[in-house]
């Protein structure tokens, strides 16, 4: 049998019907649903008199526009309240599981999937959200879709898809101390460009990737979309199996052993060919900070704000000029001299226990700078509870951070948590687009440890220097 990639294997297994010279009808094992991209899909289903085909493969939560203070109280914003109500009604009408506010399972959709064990190796997973790529960290094929496709999956449990190309991103060697998987993915995007992965599914491989924990892999795969890729994935290994054992929806006993044996087959065969490959040395990555208005506008923390004149391509130059105007930055400014007003630790990229632990270690016994307002938003109730058991909330609160309730919060600022015009934020989220965290707000993407250190210093610092102190 010909050697196959991980992606080929999952794709092939899920083709229900192949249109000659056209797209494949792909079976979807897991459909995750949230309140913002689904109302129009349910409405269309209702109008056509259709049902949800497989409620046992459909899981819903509320995350995008929920409050992070007193979540069980009334939602002040009438539009957000309506969306939350609609989600509840749709789940009732169509017989779907909803991890509602107040349930221990509630949280950001891409945090709860792996945590509950519904994200498993070899599955096809979709959600009306571009960061669905996150779930690929467990050896699944997971990608974001739009609302019409949400409707289609609800109604048929399938999707028409043209097969993307495969893209190997191999990281050899090891990451240096102080360099996290967030720095790695920002560095990769800086190198391949934000359109670099368009039309592809990335498989991250190599010794540096194998060495990452599952939570670190989730962060890595999460931002595949920022490199333009449909999905990002990491092959299943013993860490994946150990991570899943005992989780809420994972089979137990003999069924687990059988599942684990199958899961471990989800890896690229020796000699399999990718459509495209890049190889980087893990040791070549430093902590990253973005300076512009897309995630590819990024540099080492030891670097400086670039001079737009240094871009050869006129379109890129214009775009860098625009970005610096928006960000109110001068070319040549060292990144570590940029002062910040706000810090946000949260989002589906960096709100898991590992992230919070790292950030807490960084601020332990220190204080948030007077000029800075800092907040931590755990990714789920489970993360929040576990963190509180470890006393992580206390470390943050003593340092002067706000400790909030789970949700997307200031990652996309739909719920009222937002930057004021002109405010500058060190954020562990995934997008620094204009206005993403609030109209006129200025976002710099960084790792949790870098965000925590910036909160204390009042400006960016090289976390590697702190580690030595």
């Amino acid at each position: 049998m010909a050697a196959e990639t991980l992606f080929d294997k999952i794709w092939k297994e899920h083709v229900v019907y192949q249109q000659p010279d056209g797209p494949a009808l792909l079976y979807i094992d897991l459909h995750l649903v949230h309140e913002v991209t689904s109302p129009q899909a349910f409405e269309a289903l209702r109008n056509a008199g259709r049902k949800v085909r497989s409620p046992d493969r459909t899981f819903s939560t509320l995350d995008h526009d929920v409050p992070t203070i007193n979540q069980l109280g009334p939602i002040a914003d009438p539009d957000a309240r309506l969306q939350v109500e609609e989600m509840r009604k749709n789940c009732r009408d169509f017989g779907l599981r909803l991890f509602d506010l107040g349930s221990h399972e509630q949280g950001i959709v891409h945090v709860i999937g792996p945590q509950l064990g519904i994200t498993q190796p070899g599955l096809t997973i979709v959600c009306g959200d571009s960061h669905t790529a996150t779930h690929g960290a467990l050896g699944a094929l997971a990608f974001g879709i739009g609302t019409s496709e949400v409707e289609h999956v609800l109604g048929t449990q399938c999707l028409w898809q043209n097969k993307p190309k495969s893209f190997e991103v191999r990281i050899d060697g090891r990451l240096s101390p102080g360099v996290s998987s967030k720095d790695l993915i920002l560095g990769i995007i800086g190198r391949i460009g934000i359109g670099g992965g368009t039309g592809t599914v990335i498989e991250y491989r190599g010794s540096a990737i194998e060495a990452l924990s599952i939570e670190e892999r989730l962060t890595l795969c999460n931002m595949s979309i920022e490199g333009g890729a449909r999905a990002g994935m990491v092959a299943a290994d013993q860490k994946t199996v150990d991570y899943l054992r005992g989780r809420r929806y994972v089979p137990t006993g003999k069924d687990f052993d059988r599942a684990a044996e199958r899961w471990l087959r989800y890896r690229t065969d020796d000699g399999a060919r990718f459509d495209r490959s890049v190889v980087f040395d893990g040791a070549s990555f430093a902590p990253q900070v973005t300076w512009g208005t897309n995630p590819g506008m990024v540099t080492d923390v030891t670097g400086r704000v670039p001079d737009p004149a240094s871009f050869a391509d006129p379109v890129q130059r214009e775009s860098a000029e625009r970005a610096l105007r928006y960000m109110a930055l001068k070319p040549g400014t060292p990144m570590v001299e940029i002062p910040i007003d706000r810090v946000f630790i949260g989002s589906c990229t960096n709100s898991r226990l590992t992230d919070l632990k790292l950030a807490a270690e960084t601020v332990r016994g220190r204080k948030v700078a007077k000029s800075v307002n800092a907040m931590v938003v755990p990714g789920s109730w489970q993360v929040k509870d576990e963190a509180e058991k470890l006393g992580i909330d206390k470390i943050f609160k003593e340092a002067g951070f706000e400790w909030r309730e789970p949700g997307c919060s200031m990652c996309l600022a739909m719920n009222g948590d937002m930057l004021q015009p002109g405010e500058r934020c060190a954020s562990t989220s995934n997008r620094n687009f204009e206005g993403r965290q609030g109209a006129g707000g200025r976002t710099h993407l960084v790792s949790p440890a870098m965000a925590a250190a910036a909160a204390v210093a009042g400006h960016f610092v090289d976390i590697r220097d702190w580690a030595r102190n």
Partner: protein, 195 residues
């Protein structure tokens, strides 16, 4: 879905790369529970600038948008093509599109047209050198973009997508014609969860 066959109209130039969907339709408009009326939120923050292209009277009736590479990157929000369509656009021309935006557009009878960099550049040039508003015709049957002066360019699109667009087919109904294959798949692959 509204079919797309042939459209002639004014082309509005948006001379930017990497236009992300957060710009096309900012978050405050995502709280809608219907698909219509989103045109008012289209490029909401950019439209605060009185010189922004869509604020110029000649582009009020524009049907085609032309932009630079990687149009529609970022968030998967289908509100982006909904907003463009609600504003009156029927198509966007660019050298490349983000995958999800492209899929979302195709599901709404809103055509993302990929032309070569130099062809897109030629359109920007033509707009600049025209006294009056510059018009293009996009013909899906012949897969061409052309102007009245005889300039034309060809674009690619999958046969299946083309058929769906030309006939305005309902995707779900089309898929349910494969009920037998879907049911067979499900019989062989039970739900992988413990409830």
């Amino acid at each position: 879905m509204q079919p797309f066959v042939k459209v002639t109209g004014v082309v509005a130039p948006l001379d930017r790369v990497n236009v992300d969907t957060d710009q096309i339709i900012p978050k405050q408009f995502l709280k809608a529970v219907v698909r219509t009326g989103l045109g008012k939120g289209l490029f909401f923050d950019w439209r605060k600038d009185p010189d922004f292209v869509l604020n110029r009277p000649r582009y009020r009736e524009a049907k085609i948008l032309v932009a630079r590479a990687n149009f529609g990157c970022g968030s998967s929000r289908e509100h982006a093509p909904w907003a463009l369509a609600d504003f009156g656009f029927r198509a966007v021309i660019a050298p490349s599109f983000a995958d999800i935006f492209r899929n979302n557009s195709l599901k709404n009878g809103f055509l993302p047209v990929i032309l070569k960099e130099e062809e897109v550049e030629a359109i920007f040039q033509a707009i600049e050198h025209h006294e009056e508003a510059y018009e293009l015709t996009i013909d899906l049957t012949t897969q061409t973009v052309s102007d009245s002066a005889g300039w034309s360019a060809r674009f690619e699109i999958g046969e299946f997508q083309k058929k769906c667009l030309l006939e305005g087919l309902d995707d779900v109904a089309l898929t349910l014609m494969h009920e037998k294959e879907i049911a067979a798949y499900e019989a062989a692959h039970p739900v992988p969860y413990r409830f």
